[in-house]
Amino acid sequence: MKKKVALLTTNFFNPKGERIITGGAERYQVDFCRLLRDMDFDVEVWQMGDNWTKEFDGIKIHGLPVNKTEYQTFPELNMGFYENVMSFDYTLYFILSLAYPLVREKSISISHGVYWDWPGFDATTGKLAIKQEWLRRMELSLAGPQKLVSVDTNTINYFNATLPSFYNKWEYIPNYVDTDLFLPLEEDLRNDKIRILFPRRMVPVRGINETMRAAEILTKKYPSIEFHFCGRGHDDTIEMLMSQWASKQERCYYYWKPFEMMPEIYQMADIVLIPSRSTEGTSLAALESMACGKPVIAGLAGGLSDLIIHGYNGYLVKPSVENLVSSIEELINDPKKRKLMGERGREIATSFNKKTWHERWANVISEVFR
C-alpha cells in the first residue's frame, strides 16, 4: 500500500478557496508535491479555509475552519491538522512556525528564508516580551520535526546563533531552476537598447521604491536604456499606481506575465535587479535570471549571498537609490562585464538545477519517511 503524506501550509488558496497570486512558495509546493508523488507517496494538503476540499494539479487541498494567529504562530491550525491527519504516515510543515505546538513523529519542516528581518515584523510582534514569546514558540516548532530543511544558509546560521540546540537537524537544500526551460538566448537578436528588469512583487521589502527612483534618474541620463517592472502588486490599487507612474515616465514599463512567459522576459533583459531589503531566501527570480545568462544586482538580504558573488556574477549592494544607480551604471557602461557576469551566472545556475534539488530532497525524504 502507498504511504500517505500530509502537508500543512497556511494559504495556498485564500481562506475562501479562491486562487491567490502565485509566488515562489506556491510554485515550490506544487513541485514538491509532484516529487512526493514521483516517489510513490499519496499526498494531501491542509490549510486555512471554510471547510472546503479542492483539487490543484491532482492534489487534494483541504480548508480547516480556523484563522487565529498568535505571536506569528498558528496553534489552532496546527492542532486541527494534527487531528485530521491521524490516518497519514508522515507529515510535512511547509512553514517552520506551523510545527508549533505539536507534531507527528515522522515529520519535516521547511524554511523558505528568514521573514522576521524587517522593521515591519517588529510592528506585528510589538513589545519585547511578545517577540520573546515568538522566539520561544519558534524553539518549540524546531524541536518537534525530525529534520529541518532550509532553502538558504542564512536561516540555519540565524537559528544556530539564537536557538543553537538544533544544530544537527538542519539541512541546506537551496532552491532550484529548470535550466532547460530558463536558457540564455543562443543568438543575440536584441537591438542596442539596454533593458533593465525588476521581476518581483511591487512591494517595499523587494526594493521597489528605490528602484523607481533609480529608474527616474537613469532613464533621464541614458537615452538607450529601458526599465521593465514585471510582477504583481498586493492589490489593485498598487498595480494601478504602478501603471500610472510608468505611463508618466520615459521608457519605463509596467506589466505582469504568466510563468510560461518568464523565460522570454528574462532573455530580453540585459541586467536584472533583485534589490531586496529583507525577507529573502535563495530567490527563484535570481536563479532564473542567472540561468538565462544575466548579471544580477541583488540586495544583501537572506539567501542572495548564497547565489551572488559580488563582482563575479553580479553585485551585492545595500539597495539605496545611490548604490543601485552606481552599480547599474557600471554595467550599462561595460558590455563585456555584463556578458562575462551573465555567463558565470549561467554556470553557477547549473549547480542549482532541478535535478539536483530532486536528488537532495529524495535523500532527506527517504531518511525520515521510513
Partner: protein, 366 residues
Amino acid sequence: MDNKLAIFIPNLMNWNGDTQIIGGLERYMIALAELMTEMGYDLSFHQNAHHDFSNYSLDWPIYGYQANTLDLQKTIARIEKETPGRVLYSSIVQQTFYRPQSICISHGVWWEVPGSSPLQAQKYYESHVARALEQAGLIISCDYNFLNVTRAIYPHLADQKVRVIPNFADSKYYSPRKPNNTDHVRILYPRRLSPERGFGILKEVIPPLLASFPQVEFEFAIDTNKPEYLDLFYQWRENMTGKERILYCHPDYQSMPDVYARADIVVIPSIYSEGTSFSCLEAMAMGKAVIATDIGGLTNLIINNYNGLLIHPSIESLYQALLFLIENPAVCTRLGKYASTVSQAFSRQAWEARWRQCIQKIYPLS
C-alpha cells in the same frame, strides 16, 4: 586633527610580548595597519599580556597590559582609560564598550556553539552586537552572514551600522601553479586545532580513508600558539595506524603558498565561529578543491559543486565529500578552476579601496 590612532587587539603578540601570533585576525590587522600607515595615521597596538610590556619589533609600537583570562573586561577598562583619542576595535568579541566615533570589526558570528542554550546565545548578542550597534560609528563585517544574522535579530539597526567588506586573497602570493603530477592525493587542513575549526570531525574520517586509499595522505598546517593543542595532536597522531601518511608542519605566513601548492584537496571543516576565512580564500586562489561547511561566511565564498563543496559540519558529510573528491580527480580540477576565478573577486585592492572609504569617513584627517 591628530593622526594618532590606537588599535585594541586581543593578542598581536603572545602574552609575553616576545613572539608574533599566527592567525587570521592578526594577519587581517597587519594588512589594515599597513594601509592606514600609508594613509598617514600614526598607529599603536594595545593588547592583553601576562605583564605590562612594550614591543617595537614590528612597524608599530605594541603595548601589553597585564590581564587575567577570567576577567578580561577589567583589562579592557584599563586600556580604555589609559588610551585617549581615537580608537579602532579589532574585534567585536573583545569589547562591550565602544567610543562613538569608532570602527569595530566583526570577523564573523562567533557564539553559535552547537548545543549551547538560547540564553547563552542571547547573552552574547546582547552584550556585544547590540551594544556595538548602539555605540560604535560603524561595524565592519567580514561576511554577509553576520549582517544577515544581525538584521534578523535587530531589524531596525543592522543596516544603519554594518558594512560588509569581505576578506581577500592576495594574488601576489596566492595563484594556481602547475599540477603536482604525483600519484598521491594530499588533503590539507590549514587551520588551528581549536574545537570550532572542526579538527574533531576531521580526525574521525581519517582512519577509514587511509585504510581504503593507499594513495591518500593528510597534511596538517598548524600553528604553535597553543602548546596544549599541539601535545594532543602529537599524541593522537602517534597512535594512528598509517601515521607516516599523516604529515604536519608549522609554517609562517610566507611559506603558506608552498604548503597549499603541495595539496590536492583543502578541508575547512569549521563547526562554528567562521567568517570569510583567509584559509578558504587562499586555497581557492591556489586553485584547490575546497571542502567547506555551511557555517558563517564560508557560505559567501563557496557555492556547492561549483567552486567547492559546501557541507553540513558532520562526520558523515565530510567523509562522503572526501570520498567523492578522492574518487573523482576531474571534479577536483573543475572545482579548483572555478575556485581560482571566483577568488579574483576577493582581491586585496578591492578590500583596501572599501576600507579606505570607511576610514576616511570615521577618522577624517585634516
